[in-house]
């Protein structure tokens, strides 16, 4: 097998090609594209989206889905902001508690799904509404603005084009790749998603793995929310409100199957790069911001169609 064939056979080759083409076109057409500041802006908007996409990817891995990522994120965001502003907790402690809230929310999702046997769609639709209700009930839609300067600075400062905000998502991506490829629970996760029954028959604790996936999804939603607070410099109750479509778009464009067992950290990350690149191109071209929403829908449909074509070809070959 030649190098060329190997590259073409990997799932994300099409994504990589699309990103290269987009990158070349934008750098040729727009002089503003390759400036240090624009690269910084792009990398900065990459951070939250990547972690949110991973949060959904983990539930997709076990054949579940999580509609409550955004609502849970919003709850964590205002909890962290409130703890820092109202109670004056140190940044590290506030972040730790925020992450724990995320894990707890994910555990609730997982336990309810597994114990009741009810479709995860309905469970997370209900918990999403509950999380959002708590968020609005506590904040009355009023954001927390007075956050510690060090925390806000972390969200804005940069090393040349590299925002410091990028450090946590990169760590998360590497840890997740290692977890899924090299650890026993990670392999179990994919096995349960691939064929739950076969996994159970081979002695994998299926229910515990599904709960684990939901808990990790909640954890990543919390990390995404905390990054969003740092990025915005204030804890807005609306954080997470627009995460639903993007959380599904990236893993699915990256080739994840809704039936589970088939996900890729690298492909999901590349899908996020592509989305951010297109968004940035639209901003540079001064297109109506509404095109972004339209484009996300079209991209998902295109990805789904391409996957389908590839599956048919593979079946015919």
């Amino acid at each position: 097998v030649s190098f060329r064939q190997r590259v073409l056979s990997t799932e994300w080759s099409a994504l990589a090609v699309a990103i290269l083409i987009g990158f070349s076109i934008l750098s040729l057409l727009s002089p503003a594209f390759l400036t240090e500041f624009n690269l910084y802006v792009m990398l900065r908007s990459f951070c939250v989206v990547l972690v949110v996409a991973f949060a959904q990817m983990l539930t997709l891995a076990v054949g579940q889905l999580n509609l409550s990522i955004g609502a849970l994120g919003g709850l964590v965001a205002i909890a962290v902001g409130g703890m820092m502003e109202k109670f004056g907790l140190p940044v590290g402690l506030a972040i730790l508690i925020g992450v724990l809230i995320g894990v707890a929310g994910g555990l609730v999702n997982g336990l309810l799904t597994v114990r009741t046997g009810i479709n995860g769609f309905i469970i997370t639709l209900a918990t999403a509404s509950a999380f959002e209700g708590v968020n609005l009930g506590i904040t009355r839609s009023i954001p927390f603005y007075n956050l510690p300067p060090g925390f806000v600075a972390f969200g804005t400062e940069r090393f040349f084009a590299m925002p410091y905000l990028l450090i946590p998502p990169v760590i998360v991506a590497i840890a997740l790749g290692f977890f899924l490829a090299r650890t026993v629970p990670g392999r179990y996760l994919l096995a349960v998603g691939g064929n739950a029954q076969a996994a159970e028959l081979s002695g994998i604790p299926r229910d515990r793995i599904i709960i684990l996936a939901h808990a990790l999804s909640g954890l990543l939603a919390a990390v995404g929310a905390i990054l969003a607070v740092a990025q915005l410099g204030s804890a807005q109750p609306t954080i997470g409100a627009d995460w639903l479509i993007i959380s599904f778009a990236a893993p699915i464009i990256g080739g994840a199957a809704l039936t589970g067992g088939h996900i890729s950290v690298a492909a999901t990350a590349l899908a996020v790069v592509l989305i951010v690149l297109i968004q940035n191109g639209m901003v540079l071209a001064q297109v109506d911001p509404y095109w972004v929403e339209f484009m996300l829908g079209a991209l998902i449909l295109a990805a789904v169609g391409l996957n389908r074509l590839r599956a048919i070809r593979a079946g015919a070959a």
């Binding site: 889905l65 309810l112 009741t116 046997g117 009810i118 479709n119 769609f121 309905i122 469970i123 639709l125 209900a126 918990t127 999403a128 509404s129 509950a130 999380f131 959002e132 209700g133 708590v134 609005l136 009930g137 009355r140 839609s141 639903l244 479509i245 599904f248 699915i252 809704l258 109506d288 509404y290 095109w291 972004v292 929403e293 339209f294 484009m295 996300l296 829908g297 079209a298 998902i300 449909l301 789904v304 169609g305 389908r308």
Partner: protein, 334 residues
């Protein structure tokens, strides 16, 4: 009343009660809540508040129906809000900018709803991809397309008759409620007495078995989605009469109520069974709680939490009711 793919006449009152236990229980909860709210806040049954409830429950019922008809096939439709707002904006544009007569504009809006629903169904059947993903994508496609075309403006120059109809009162009931009831009756006829209705339920209960017995499953799913789009457009137009203006923000908060009503009413997510009366009762329950909390001044902020917890309780209760019914050897649900 629960209509399911395998519903045949079960003799005896006991079996009937078991089969209707969901709807009866739901009606009991609604009545109980009305008594509670009436005793806590006399303003709850003022003719003004009853009128307000009848208007909002009418729209909620049709939104619930819109999701129910696709749940019957075992699918779902996340694009209901997007379809609703696209139809409303088209109606507003045609009447205000193009000066179309009201009836033609409303008909065109309904047609657009059906067409967008058909696109959903066609994409789902042809691609073989999960309805969740397809409608999630088309929701953002429709919404984005609408915003690009309209630039998110509000059409508030629609004929005054529209808002007048929305304000119309028959004592303490809005005529909108009658529209919702007529639609419900039509759906009962569809699912109980027509081949198409039975085919939709059969396709939802077991697509393979239905296909083998000659049901054109693909076509049936496309029809169900077309119907769902049509109902979403109807709900949007009903909301248009209430608001008196075509606003791009319509439909953004439909997702939860669209599932609440049918799921509370006993429609299964796995397909093959619908309950039209149940969905209407479910919508009434949601409207009751919303209005009651508002009157008690609990505040809109906690409403979301209540609705979420209620949905959880409802599905849990349904779960244990089924287990109990099976143990007692009473009506078996499909």
């Amino acid at each position: 009343m629960t209509l399911s793919a395998s519903a045949h006449d079960r003799p005896g009152l006991g079996a009937w009660v078991a089969e209707q236990s969901g709807a009866i229980g739901l009606a009991a909860i609604v009545i109980l809540l009305w008594i509670v709210f009436m005793s806590l806040a006399p303003g709850f049954v003022s003719s003004f508040n009853l009128f307000a409830i009848s208007r909002s429950v009418a729209v909620d019922i049709v939104i619930g129906f819109s999701t129910m008809v696709v749940l019957a096939t075992g699918g779902m439709n996340l694009a209901i809000g997007a379809i609703g707002v696209c139809s409303v904006m088209l109606a507003g544009y045609l009447m205000q900018v193009q000066g179309w007569p009201m009836a033609t504009a409303l008909a065109a809006a309904l047609f657009l709803g059906g067409l967008l629903g058909w696109i959903n169904g066609f994409a789902i059947v042809r691609s073989g991809v999960n309805a969740f993903i397809i409608t999630l994508a088309t929701a953002s496609l429709f919404m984005g397309g609408m915003l690009i075309l309209t630039k998110a403006i509000i059409y508030n120059g629609v004929p005054p008759e529209i808002a007048a109809f929305g304000r119309l009162r028959w004592n303490f009931v809005s005529p909108l409620l009658l529209i919702a009831i007529v639609i419900g009756a039509a759906l009962i006829v569809l699912f109980r007495f027509t081949t198409l209705g039975r085919e939709i339920l059969a396709a939802g209960a077991n697509a393979r078995a239905a296909e083998l017995s000659g049901v054109p499953v693909g076509r049936v799913i496309i029809i169900a989605h077309t119907l769902s789009g049509l109902l979403a457009a109807s709900a949007g137009l009903m909301l248009l009469t209430r608001l008196g203006a075509a606003m791009p923000s319509i439909g953004q908060d439909w997702l939860l109520p669209s599932f609440l009503a049918p799921v509370l009413g006993g429609t299964l997510l796995s397909g093959g069974a619908v309950s039209i009366v149940g969905a209407a009762l479910g919508a009434l329950l949601v409207a009751t709680i919303r209005s009651g909390l508002l009157i008690l001044q609990v505040g809109n902020f906690w409403l979301q939490l209540f609705l979420g917890v209620m949905l959880l309780l409802a599905v849990l209760l349904d779960r244990y009711r089924n287990v109990y019914a099976e143990r007692r050897g009473l009506g078996r649900r499909t």
